[in-house]
């Protein structure tokens, strides 16, 4: 994991000092609400329904135990004892006091963390595959490039006042686990005909009000040109992206309105003028790569026989292994998911007690590292198979072992009307209701891979438009209604969900979801996944049943 050098540390400390001055100036009335809004957003601070919300960067989802303990401390000291993990691998606190935010940022800086550019119309936190560096389908570890991009984006002087927010995701594996096709820029590590590794560059993807699948703008880009190419795209976007309407200001609209060919030509022309000046030196890449060297794996980890034995003897453990662990490239190791989707807890939330305990477990079982995932769970990426049984028992005691990873109750869910000032409808209550209706684990596992994503408004923070089942809360004359979509996916075969029909009343949402799942159970072919069945039969069989009584 990347460790800060003096430059990194100096920069975040100076950023804290700057924000402290800005906050003091605002409280003294020297800068306007509007001006402070832009400044605070670029430090992750929103003003929400009940209190400010502070979003902290989880750089490409990677955290260490010391940082997790710091989050626990902040939750206890400055908040109401919990925090929330987001779909872009960040961490949110919902109850900080404005005057104390500079103190929180100072605490974070002491463990190499910050909230820089986690909001605002600027370059946001870069996200990646939560199994980076350990998965079996990897072409190259994307994390060193994420770190290079993190540094390039941080306090970039030219691109701090973009038309709208800008998100970059990087995937290094054949299976896209980072929703790269729905980012402003998606980068895939690929091999060219000569066997060299470079990037396929996608541009103009996005979710929100107008979901768009990103298009390939550069099939193969040499690594040395990574930053110059990003800079060329950003300069064209900064100069020509629409600023007259915030709903048309994302790069996806520029790409769509100009057409990919014209947009590519502008980027290409700009890039040719700057690329020789901005080459990424091979030794710089190597230096950063060295920071992501594999940990000291035990060579005989696969010799262990207890893992297989425990699975034979303990069905609950075997189930957890099946759903909540993933294959690892090193024999004898697995990656273990910590489910933040326990039935009685809001999706993605964690208490200070859980955070502290998880830090201890990471120290003991996974080289002190923790990752957050795009689906709002955590992962210990490097657990010895011999340790999994013990780890499972301890996670179970912490309510972090619900074996529902990748199932219908592993919902992505935004904070909704309960916390967010943008929301039109509640989400946490509905999520709990769906969870209660799907509390039979055998039934849940029989349904298998179903991704339910639910957002409380059009902004789509929970990526409802790419949920296998998407649920979007809307407001109709002060009443909460829910629009359902089917067949979305953010993975390799990216798709935007199709509208099932008219919006549904709040008390009918759970019924609609269970009806959809029942239709699937009854009409699926052997081994056919939910998404495959939706592709095969379309939405009508589901629609007929959901709206049967209306």
């Amino acid at each position: 994991m990347y460790q800060y050098n003096d430059t990194d540390q100096t920069l975040i400390e100076q950023r804290v000092a700057q924000f402290r001055r800005q906050t003091e100036s605002f409280l003294k009335g020297e800068i306007s609400d509007d001006q402070f809004r832009a400044l605070r957003l670029m430090n992750g601070l929103y003003i929400q329904t009940h209190a400010p919300m502070l979003r902290i960067a989880g750089p490409y989802g990677l955290l260490n135990s010391k940082q997790i303990r710091k989050l626990a401390h902040i939750a206890r000291t400055y908040d109401k004892n919990y925090c929330h993990f987001t779909t872009r691998q960040n961490i949110q606190f919902n109850w900080p006091h404005l005057e104390r935010v500079p103190d929180i940022l100072e605490e974070l800086a002491s463990v190499q963390m910050h909230a820089i550019q986690t909001s605002g119309n600027c370059l946001r936190n870069t996200s990646t595959d939560h199994l980076a560096g350990v998965c079996i389908d990897e072409i190259e570890d994307p994390r060193p490039y994420c770190e290079i991009i993190r540094q390039w984006t941080t306090l970039h002087p030219e691109f701090a006042y973009l038309p709208r927010k800008f998100k970059i995701a990087v995937s290094g594996a054949t299976h896209d686990r980072a929703a790269t096709q729905f980012h402003d820029i998606g980068l895939h590590l690929v091999k060219n005909d000569a066997g060299e590794t470079g990037f396929r560059v996608l541009v103009g993807g996005g979710l929100g009000r107008t979901p768009v699948i990103g298009q390939v703008i550069k099939p193969y880009l040499d690594k040395k040109h990574l930053l110059s190419y990003l800079e060329a795209i950003l300069r064209i976007y900064n100069l020509f992206g629409r600023r007259d309407n915030k709903y048309k200001a994302r790069i996806k609209i520029l790409v769509k309105e100009s057409g990919l060919d014209k947009f590519s030509a502008l980027v290409e022309k700009e890039w040719l003028l700057i690329r020789d000046n901005l080459e990424l030196a091979a030794d710089r890449i190597e230096t950063i790569k060295a920071q992501f060297a594999p940990p000291a794996y035990e060579v005989d980890a696969a010799q262990d026989t207890s893992f297989a034995q425990h699975q034979l003897e303990n069905k609950a453990f075997a189930t957890w292994v099946k759903y909540n662990t993933a294959d690892h490239k090193v024999p004898g190791y697995r990656a273990a998911f910590l489910s933040l989707k326990a039935p009685d807890s809001p999706p993605g939330d964690m208490t200070d007690t859980q955070l502290d305990a998880v830090a201890d477990l990471a120290d003991r079982y996974s080289f002190s590292e923790i990752r957050s995932t795009h689906r709002q769970n955590l992962i210990f990426a490097d657990v010895k198979q011999a340790d999994l049984f013990e780890l499972w028992q301890q996670l179970d005691a912490l309510k972090l072992a619900t074996p529902n990873n990748g199932t219908a109750t592993d919902m992505i869910c935004c904070p909704g009307l309960d916390f967010c000032s943008l929301a039109n409808a509640g989400t946490i209550g509905v999520a709990k209701e769906i969870n209660d209706a799907l509390d039979d684990l055998d039934y849940l596992h029989d349904i298998g891979d179903v991704k339910i994503n639910m957002s409380g408004c059009m902004n789509g923070c929970a990526h409802q438009s790419v949920g296998h089942i998407g649920i979007l809360g809307v407001d109709k004359k002060g009443v909460e209604w829910y629009q359902l979509t089917l067949g979305g996916s953010s993975e390799n075969e990216a798709a935007i969900g199709e509208r099932l029909g008219p919006a549904i009343a709040k008390d009918q949402v759970t019924k609609a979801v269970t009806t959809i799942l029942d239709v699937y159970i009854k009409q699926r072919l052997d081994e056919e996944s939910f998404l495959d069945m939706v592709k095969r039969v379309g939405i009508n069989p589901f629609k007929e049943q959901v709206y049967a009584n209306n």
């Binding site: 430059t7 100096t10 920069l11 100076q14 950023r15 700057q18 800005q22 100036s25 800068i31 001006q35 832009a38 400044l39 119309n121 540094q151 390039w152 941080t154 306090l155 970039h156 002087p157 030219e158 691109f159 701090a160 006042y161 973009l162 038309p163 930053l227 300069r235 900064n238 100069l239 600023r243 003028l273 000046n277 901005l278």
Partner: protein, 150 residues
């Protein structure tokens, strides 16, 4: 009127002549449209010549004239209009402009650090009482991650 120029608070010798005003003696700046229209007359005035550029203007349009222009004013209609930052970068980085680049209009004192990094070397703030703070804001950071102009 005072401004910040090259990290010092100094008196400003320039005045802006609106499109419907007569040209006058002394150091004057005009809009890009006026420059294009009255270039011969402007080159004959006694003082130095500056051109004011807004976010929607294309810097390319004056690239060939830069040798005759001693001041470029980059005029913010609103502080959030980030096109100004790319204009500054293009003037310095692409067209190698060596004269004064001055931020004018509605920008914040908290933006001067980024502006200075993309090549702006003078700042005309909306409120002159902000000058000392803006001057110190030029030193907000002693380190940076990316190549720009400074």
């Amino acid at each position: 009127m005072q401004i910040i120029k090259d990290k010092q608070i100094v008196d400003d010798s320039w005045s802006y002549v609106a499109d419907d005003e007569e040209l006058k003696d002394g150091d004057i700046s005009v809009s890009l449209a006026r420059w294009k229209k009255d270039k011969p007359q402007l080159l004959k005035t006694s003082g130095k010549t500056g051109v004011r550029i807004g976010p929607a203007d294309a810097v390319e349009d004056i690239a060939a004239d830069l040798k005759d222009i001693q001041l470029i004013e980059l005029d913010f209609p609103a502080f959030a209009d980030g096109r100004i930052f790319s204009h500054a970068w293009l003037l310095r980085g692409r067209y190698n402009y060596q004269g004064e680049i001055r931020a004018t209009g509605h920008f914040m004192r908290d933006q001067v650090f980024y502006l200075s990094r993309v090549g702006v070397n003078a700042f005309s703030l909306e409120k002159t009482e902000d000058l000392p703070v803006a001057l110190s804001n030029l030193n907000d950071f002693s380190v940076n991650y990316q190549k720009s102009i400074r």
